[in-house]
């Protein structure tokens, strides 16, 4: 099946996501003010592809306003973009538009669809680093999901806020600077913990790219020298 979605063009335009790695992010129910998390469903969309769907209901909407958030983790940003490509292949709409204006900055690559004849953005799918997101209005009353998508982009794409670090909600882990050689892999995390026993881990490199190799996270630098990868842990 031919699609208008060009993986190589996406890769060429990707910079921020190459330096990001999120492991084991989970929504717990307090992320969206005014919304209630009513269903959490692990999906099996492909081997080695961990997608969890979160269904949120607007409080007081009696089920009329629902937002489905699918969050899938891949081994690296390329695999995440491949997953996004797969997801788009299973959309019947042939001309999914890219996000424009403020929405253009969401993720490494995104597609934002408005309701027919309206202005509300009812679907926003994007990849950011090694994670793919699908945020969709799935109730009888259409909800604009762009603010939710922006929040997810910020949550996974930026370091934890000072307040979160100050209150202990998030922790910056001590990491030594790495002596790296251009183009060679350096191990940042020797062995990722089991998903069930750990919280959410976020890594941000200064440049180059982060990816998973078996149970390790490695960093590939574009230049030789001393580099520091920031690593954060947020309790489950």
């Amino acid at each position: 099946m031919d699609t208008p979605y060009d993986l190589q063009a996406w890769a060429d335009a990707t910079s921020r996501g190459r330096r990001l790695y999120n492991y084991n992010y989970r929504m717990s129910g307090d992320e969206l003010r005014g919304w209630e998390l009513i269903n959490v469903v692990p999906m099996e969309n492909a081997p080695g592809h961990h997608e969890i769907v979160y269904l949120w209901e607007k409080k007081g909407s009696a089920g009329q306003e629902l937002v489905r958030i699918g969050i899938a983790e891949a081994d690296d940003w390329r695999a995440a973009q491949y997953q996004l490509h797969e997801q788009l292949r299973h959309s019947m709409r042939p001309d999914l538009p890219r996000g424009t204006g403020k929405l253009a900055a969401i993720g490494d690559v995104n597609y934002a669809s408005q309701e027919p004849g309206g202005k509300l953005v009812a679907s926003l799918v994007f990849s950011l680093g090694n994670v793919t997101f699908a945020v969709s209005s799935v109730g009888d009353k259409t909800v604009d999901v762009s603010a939710i998508a922006q929040r997810l982009d910020h949550t996974l794409g930026e370091p934890p806020a000072k307040e979160e670090l100050k209150t202990g909600k998030a922790e910056r882990l001590a990491t030594a600077a790495l002596k790296v050689k251009k183009g060679q892999m350096s191990t940042v995390v020797e062995r990722l913990p089991e998903r069930a026993t750990t919280g959410w881990h976020k890594l941000i490199a200064p440049d180059g790219e982060l990816k998973r190799e078996d149970d390790a996270i490695v960093y590939v630098s574009p230049s030789t020298g001393e580099k520091k990868v920031d690593r954060y842990h947020v309790a489950a």
């Binding site: 099946m1 031919d2 699609t3 009513i38 269903n39 469903v41 999906m43 099996e44 969309n45 492909a46 769907v53 269904l55 209901e57 089920g63 629902l66 489905r68 797969e86 997801q87 299973h90 959309s91 019947m92 709409r93 042939p94 001309d95 999914l96 597609y111 669809s113 408005q114 309701e115 027919p116 009812a122 679907s123 799918v125 699908a134 969709s136 209005s137 799935v138 109730g139 009888d140 259409t142």
Partner: protein
């Protein structure tokens, strides 16, 4: 205070030599009987408590043993106690005198007093003479045996499913374990049973501990074959007697949920014991109800497509036409949740979700459908998407692909069941004709671009319409595994 004294009860038990086993049986009966009617029994049929003709007044028919009023008092005292732990606690119950206490002892001293279990499915490898292997859903096995004393209370607690084609003309049976006290054998049967019919009378032997073997009883006259697919509540009244000339005595009622399907389910459903894709009773509830009355595959699939399209619980994703219930596997669990009034994964679906739902539920009742796509990138005629009642051409004119439940090899020569949309059923389905007749495509030939079949109803007769809408079975024909 009226009724018996504790000392009378103790003396009577000693005088009659009532065994500890009999006392325990009576206590269990008194503590588990659901209501006064079940305790008193339905006159004039005997039991569960019967009049001892050698003691007190009269016989069972003209006289009485324990009636509703006294039965209710016995249960009221049970409620105040929490439960009976000793027969002496039957003291001081108004109307419960020596004759009725004697009847209670008499009834349980020699009696078939328990159905322990009922199996409908006792051949894992076949279902020609018994029921199919089942699960409740993806995570929960079906009860084994189907009915168990003390565990199975409602109809749905005890499910069974039969395939019409495979059981047609064959004798059917069930397997039952029973318990008796003071008897080496008795005749047992069950009456009622709706379309499963009564359970034929059979002599059952009991060992010294009062246990029967796993007894195979014939289903005397099942009548579920002719009416086709359906789901039924089945109630059996179990009865026993010592000799073939005795009147029948009541034993107990058992309730069962019966699913009737056309023939062996096809993939993704299997009959492999332990597999999570054994037919789910949660899915059978919907599939058998939707296909109710169908006696052939095409009718069953058509009814399921129609009921899904009109279910009112899902509507088409007119924003992006995205797949929400899985494209590698199909999350049937969440779809069932949605169809049953829960949130599921939300109320939006696309053609893949719809093809999955129609084909998976149809195959559960014995149809033989596939999920398969047509494409790629083609123009559309006006249509009515699921959950809507207005004609529209989605997405500025076309689909990147479309997916349906499809028969056979999923080619142009095979028929489709499209639960996702209604096409225009009149002579000119193109946008040029303002008049439209809604038609849900069920058992409709996919066809070519010259004759008015599914393809020309879905797409205009153009190079970017019908010509671009090609069956794609080589790469897309499948039956997604269920979650």
């Amino acid at each position: 205070m009226s009724g018996l004294t504790s000392s009378y009860i103790l003396a009577k038990l000693a005088a009659t030599g009532t065994t500890a086993a009999t006392k325990a049986i009576i206590l269990e009966f008194l503590n588990t009987v659901p209501d006064a009617a079940a305790l008193a029994g339905a006159e004039p049929v005997e039991g569960p408590i019967v009049d001892d003709p050698a003691y007190g007044w009269g016989d069972q028919i003209r006289d009485y043993d324990i009636g509703i009023a006294v039965a209710q008092r016995i249960l009221s005292k049970r409620a105040s106690l929490g439960s009976y732990t000793s027969l002496t606690q039957l003291s001081h119950i108004n109307g419960f005198g020596p004759d009725k206490f004697n009847d209670l002892l008499y009834a349980f001293t020699t009696a078939v007093y328990e159905i322990s279990s009922i199996e409908f499915n006792y051949h894992d490898g076949a279902f020609t003479h018994d029921a199919l292997n089942l699960r409740k859903n993806a995570t929960t096995a079906a009860p084994t045996p189907s009915w168990r004393k003390g565990i199975s209370h409602t109809y749905t607690d005890s499910p069974a499913a039969y395939a019409i084609k495979e059981t047609q003309g064959n004798p059917l049976g069930i397997r039952v374990r029973l318990k008796a006290n003071g008897l080496s054998g008795a005749y047992v049967r069950a009456i009622g049973g709706g379309c499963l019919g009564p359970v034929g009378e059979k002599w059952v032997s009991f060992d010294s501990a009062g246990l029967s073997g796993l007894e195979t009883f014939p289903l005397a006259n099942p009548s579920f074959h002719a009416p086709g697919v359906n789901a039924y509540n089945i109630l059996w009244r179990w009865q026993w007697r010592r000799q073939s000339t005795d009147p029948w005595r009541e034993l107990m009622l058992t309730r069962h949920r019966l699913f009737v399907i056309l023939r062996a389910p096809t993939l993704p459903w299997v009959q492999t014991p332990g597999n999570t894709s054994l037919p789910w009773t949660d899915a059978l509830e919907i599939a058998c109800t939707w296909a109710s009355g169908a006696t052939d595959r095409d009718t069953a699939a058509a009814r399921i497509a129609e009921r899904y399209n009109g279910c009112g619980r899902v509507s088409y994703d007119t924003v992006s036409g995205a797949t929400f219930y899985g494209f590698v596997s199909y999350n049937l669990t969440q779809m069932l949740n949605r169809l049953n009034g829960g949130p599921g994964l939300g109320g939006k679906v696309n053609c893949t979700d719809s093809a999955d739902t129609v084909s998976t539920l149809a195959n559960l009742v014995g149809c033989d459908l596939w999920q398969s796509r047509m494409g790629w990138g083609f123009d559309l005629n006006p249509l009515i998407a699921i959950g809507y009642n207005t004609w529209a051409v989605p997405f500025s004119g076309g689909f990147s692909y479309h997916e349906v439940a499809w028969k056979g090899a999923c080619t142009a020569n095979d028929r489709v069941f499209d639960g996702c949309l209604k096409v225009d059923g009149d002579a000119d389905p193109t946008a040029a004709d303002p008049h439209h007749t809604p038609l849900l495509p069920t058992n409709m030939l996919f066809g070519d671009c010259t004759t008015m079949n599914y393809r020309l109803r879905l797409c205009p007769p153009t190079a970017s319409g019908c010509a671009a809408c090609q069956p794609q079975p080589a790469t897309t024909r499948q039956r997604r595994p269920i979650l």
